[in-house]
């Protein structure tokens, strides 16, 4: 199945964080769009929604959640999906994303992005849940590759083959997190370019860029540091393969002032401009 119906690209965005609410409203930074953390706004009222409503008046917004638990053996939480749908209406969200993972099972929530085995059973299971979520929400959703630290013995294919199979089976789109590919490649010893080569461009709707923490022998996806050179390099490789894809900086901890985030966003713009220029020059030779 071919997607053929990706959403229009939004350009260069930032993750919306409460530390930046006032700076955003006061300075109106040149950010093309914001990605909100869905669960932070699934509350009855108060300050979070007060600021969100104002930002939605000024910027396009997409929703990024961590609770759909698309891989869990448990059924979808329809109360959660109902709230997600209502928030999407309130924010006029351009799209909704979540993760390729399970966050709990048997009614218990670990609040973590736990890895799936790359098996045919998992492809069928996740795809059915994505299709069900898309039917309910009335829109194609994006599913993000999570950073992983273990490999199950049951896995019978690569992560990128699994991701592609799920996207095609469920006719969903891919949120390709460049940092997560970098982290998982290091942790599992695969070539990140093989990953990029394995994901069809017509499924890639969005990128995340983020920092991580290096430990002795492994990397943890902490989102609390600046983006490292290796991830910037991998982003350039993604541009060569997928072209103009909505991209944003995802920072969740040790959050700097807005100008520092704007500098990283400018870096993404510069890399995109340089890479597309080089690609064009090569094509013209």
């Amino acid at each position: 199945m071919n997607s053929n119906n990706k959403y229009p690209s939004l350009g260069f965005g930032l993750g919306l964080r409460k530390e930046h609410y006032n700076a955003i409203l006061d300075t109106k930074p040149a950010v093309d769009w914001f990605e909100i953390l869905t669960e932070n706004y699934l509350v009855p009222g108060g300050k979070p929604l007060y600021f969100l409503d104002q930002i939605c008046e000024r910027y396009p917004v997409v929703m990024h959640g961590v609770s759909m638990s698309l891989g869990s053996y448990d059924p979808l939480d329809m109360d959660y999906l109902k709230q997600v749908k209502e928030l999407a209406k309130r924010t006029n969200a351009k799209w909704i994303s979540d993760h390729m993972c399970f966050t709990g099972v048997d009614g218990i929530n670990a609040h973590d992005l736990l890895p799936l085995p790359y098996t045919d059973e998992a492809i069928q299971h996740v795809s059915q849940k994505i299709a069900q979520a898309q039917d309910y929400l009335g829109m194609q959703i994006l599913v993000e590759n999570a950073s992983t630290y273990i490999t199950y013995k049951q896995s019978a294919m690569t992560e990128w083959d699994f991701t592609t199979a799920v996207a095609e089976e469920s006719n969903s789109l891919v949120l390709l997190d460049i940092n997560n590919i970098f982290v998982s490649a290091y942790n599992h010893g695969f070539d990140p370019l093989d990953y990029l080569d394995g994901i069809p461009a017509d499924r890639v709707q969005q990128h995340h860029l983020a920092g991580h923490s290096q430990y002795d022998g492994y990397i943890i996806d902490t989102h609390d540091h600046d983006i490292v050179q290796g991830v910037w390099g991998l982003y350039a490789e993604a541009i060569k393969r997928y072209g103009q894809v909505s991209v944003m900086i995802e920072r969740d901890d040790n959050i700097p002032e807005l100008p520092a985030m704007m500098s990283e966003l400018q870096m993404a713009r510069d890399i995109f401009a340089e890479t597309t220029q080089q690609t064009t020059e090569v094509q013209h030779v």
């Binding site: 009855p44 009222g45 108060g46 300050k47 048997d106 218990i108 609040h111 973590d112 049951q154 022998g217």
Partner: protein, 276 residues
Amino acid sequence: MSKRTIKTSSEPLSQPSSELHRLQKSMMAWLINKDTEAVKPDIVDTGEVSKVSIEQRLAVYGNAYGYRLIDALSENYPAVHTLLGDDDFYKMTYAYMDAYPSQHFSLRYFGHQLESFLKTYHSDMPILTEMAKFEWALRKGFDAADSKTLTLEALQDIAIEQWAELTFTFHSSVSRLDLAWNTPQLWTAIDEESEPMPPEKLDHPYAWLLWRKELLTYYRSLDVDEAWALDTALQGGNFSELCEGVCEWIDAEHAPSRIAGFLSQWLQDDLLVALA
């Protein structure tokens, strides 16, 4: 919400219905019960190649699970955290996680059982139970549903003959607590990062009101008659009943003006959303 236990694949009453289900139950058994053996046989050992053992890899998930829930509890209960100190707060949180693993999609609600948990887990420190109650009420006020509140002008529209039957609908951020300790004062000191006074049990419980006005959360103590009137109004009591009941503390001839004074204050505090 009842206490849940995590059943592993080895428990006969909880047979997984597929390999995917079994793996997920095993992973959760590791996270919740720290049962490494439940999932370790399913993990590829790359120790010789990467020098990172299965235990180290699983610890990334195990640590993240603990840290995330500690952060969530600390965010909702900063004064409980301060009163306990880091080490005891972490220890308490792990015990709470075991007793009440999260069953809600949002971390916002993970701490909803902390007050009752502390009542037994820290029966030696009753101030903690009361502080948890106070902080949960503040949290409720922080993100309670938005409602347009009434102004003093709303009272002017009430016809004289309607006053006796008049009832009141309050903003959903409103909480009424009776506190036996100097909990609000202690919370304020901790919030302002000043030297907290020692916890002190009072001669008798004092009545407190917590609510949100616009975006800010407030709390204030109540005189005994206002506390009674507020409780009665919250339960649907009408103006006539309030006037009658408040006579326990003042003369009947002053009762209507006393209640009208409360109403005026409640309106100024943005507590009321409807009159009927």
